[in-house]
């Protein structure tokens, strides 16, 4: 998430919003966001409802055995359709901003570029 914050310009240039989601309380998310200086929304889904809807539940994956989300990055176009996703199988290996930007450019960006002409 730190690297996404560093590439905010690249995302805003392409009109891409960033939002992070976890089961953390708004309090924990505030501490995290303020400590790291995140300017994008860091949303709380304490009951993991949205996480379940996205099929990303990691049952009992939390430190004290409660349900959390598996890591994932999902790119959604303005019609609400999922255009790209990264479902890592390794906690340490997350999508880099460049991968998301590339995915945008080769899917959504391509379409808007041609339809805009």
């Amino acid at each position: 998430m730190r690297s996404f914050e560093q590439h905010l310009n690249d995302f805003s240039q392409r009109h891409i919003e960033i939002a992070a989601i976890s089961v953390d309380s708004t309090d924990d998310s505030r501490k995290l966001s303020q400590a790291k200086g995140y300017t994008f929304p860091v949303l709380s889904d304490p009951a993991a409802e949205v996480i379940r809807n996205y099929g990303l539940l990691h049952p009992k994956g939390g430190e004290d055995g409660h349900d959390i989300t598996r890591p994932a990055e999902i790119l959604i176009d303005s019609s609400g359709t999922i255009r790209w996703e990264n479902l890592t199988d390794d906690l340490r290996v997350r999508a880099r901003p460049g991968q998301v930007l590339e995915a945008f450019d080769s899917t959504i960006g391509k379409l808007t570029a041609t339809s805009g002409k």
Partner: protein, 143 residues
């Protein structure tokens, strides 16, 4: 005659400790040294080489160098620490459920409204307004 200290053993062990302890606070911060922890592997390797040289001195020239017992202990500990590191990298780090249940590319993204940390409600449909795209980052939290 007093035998010499075998500094290689301690130097090797310190490198092994560094290899283990620097990953999370330093090298895991940057994708280039996190995804494949090559800096930490190199530190383990360098530590192992120094320990090996130290042990060779201790056992090859016990009349000059100390460290047969100490070196064996430090080497044993180092092997355990390396095993711990590998356990975290190859097992703990991959202990997440399979992704079969996840929403798929081409499917509609389920709408949601969730609270931001500043108390504001944020919904996906609002974020997508004005022809904008959204990248959602699902993260495990509390760390």
């Amino acid at each position: 005659m007093k035998r010499r200290h075998n500094i290689l053993l301690w130097a090797g062990f310190v490198l092994v400790l560094l290899a283990l302890l620097t990953y999370i606070p330093i090298f895991a911060v940057f994708a280039i040294t996190r995804d494949v922890p090559w800096v930490n592997y190199l530190l383990f390797l360098a530590g192992g080489i120094l320990l090996g040289l130290g042990l060779r001195r201790a056992f090859g020239h016990p009349e000059i160098y100390r460290g047969k017992v100490l070196g064996s202990i430090l080497a044993g500990l180092s092997v355990l620490l390396f095993a711990l590191f590998c356990f975290v990298i190859f097992y703990i780090s991959k202990a997440i459920p399979a992704s079969e249940t996840a929403v798929r590319v081409g499917q509609p993204a389920p709408n949601f409204t969730l609270a931001n940390w500043d108390g504001k409600q944020v919904s996906l449909s609002d974020q997508l307004k004005n022809n904008r795209a959204v990248v959602l980052i699902f993260y495990r939290g509390y760390w």
